[in-house]
Symmetry: C2
Subunit: 224 residues, 2 copies
């Protein structure tokens, strides 16, 4: 299963691509220009030391990928999805990692969009047969790219297609010490996106870069 | 520092009282009737095997406590606070553990209150000199009362008084394997309350009773 990135030149795409490639997946970084995608992929290959990270334009990436991560800035996601619509087929699964945040005066603020999550808003622009899964929202790009650090955290998934969530969970579970948690329907992204804002605020308050969440108590490990 | 519970006969109060008493604190369970408070305390003493859990009416509890936990049902919190107002003094700190949830058709749903958290709504009913700290919202009563289980999780604090948060954090830190995390101002309760709904939903989906959250990465423990 090939894993593609729409907006593959940003830091979240880079971190995820490194982790997935090191876990054995074939990764494709898409960009508006094939040359920029190729350059980002070359830099990732140098860092990861594995040959399975490729770069190209978004159209070629979509054609060759099954999971397509939306790793554009949150405000650009709808345009990116609309532009991609003619290329999307029912075997594709979109994975939305975006989070609507405002950074003002050195503070991070969750941008409330009339009560709806960014995942729900993006999903409105998709035909029913293309499933969207909200995932990886709460894992900081900095810790993904810090390959010396184990992730040791949960990856929270939400979405309205159980089958699509299972595929994303299986992909996520390739990455060591990452624990996939099914959080329910897409509306749960309202919670997950706010948790991202909290993690970023914690990083600032505690002067760290890798604050993230782990669910305790799901595996009969309560006494551990 | 004595720890009181306004609405001390419910399950969240019971779980917290057991953990605090076992950690060495003196605990007072308040109830509308002194007899019911005393009965709840006797049951807790029997379970915990320590003599430092007392029960009385709410007025006596408030007089003798410094930290006062609001452990009434979320919809009853404002009335409970208003009734208590004549007794509250500036040395008191209210700790709000309430979460506005709807249980319908076997599902849990966060009850959005025009975008505001229950903590913020309660706080509007308090004079400025009485600080309110949102805390312990995400830790299930069932795991608190399950004394064989280590908590091994974070307790998330939010509030607008740094001094009050420090006192609540210090009290929380008496409980083994519980890690206090300062999440910022009271508005962060919007996130924390939704996280509670998520934890309850996870318990239902995974057939567990103790799903809770731990922040990873705040203590330079990222490589662990």
């Amino acid at each position: 299963m090939d894993i593609g990135f729409l907006g593959g030149t940003g830091s979240e795409a880079r971190g995820l691509a490194l982790r997935f490639a090191l876990a054995g997946a074939r990764v494709i970084l898409g960009s508006r220009s094939a040359a920029m995608g190729a350059a980002a992929a070359e830099a990732c290959r140098d860092t990861a030391g594995v040959p399975t990270i490729h770069g190209t334009d978004n159209a070629n990436m979509i054609r060759d990928s099954e999971l397509i991560f939306l790793t554009v800035p949150f405000g650009a996601a709808i345009d990116a999805v609309r532009t991609s619509l003619p290329l999307l087929k029912p075997h594709h699964i979109l994975v939305d990692v975006t989070v609507p945040l405002n950074f003002t005066m050195g503070r991070v603020e969750y941008l409330d969009q009339e009560g709806f999550s960014n995942s729900e808003i993006i999903d409105r622009n998709l035909p029913k047969e293309i499933p969207l899964v909200g995932a990886f929202k709460t894992i900081p790009a900095a810790i993904l790219a810090d390959l010396k650090s184990e992730l040791n955290c949960s990856v929270f998934l939400c979405g309205n297609s159980r089958e699509a969530k299972t595929k994303v969970a299986n992909a996520a579970s390739m990455i060591p010490t990452l624990h996939a948690v099914d959080c329910g329907g897409l509306e749960t992204a309202r919670t997950l996106e706010r948790m991202t804002a909290l993690a970023i605020a914690l990083n600032r308050r505690y002067k760290r870069h890798g604050a993230r969440f782990r669910v305790v108590g799901l595996d009969g490990e309560t006494a551990k």
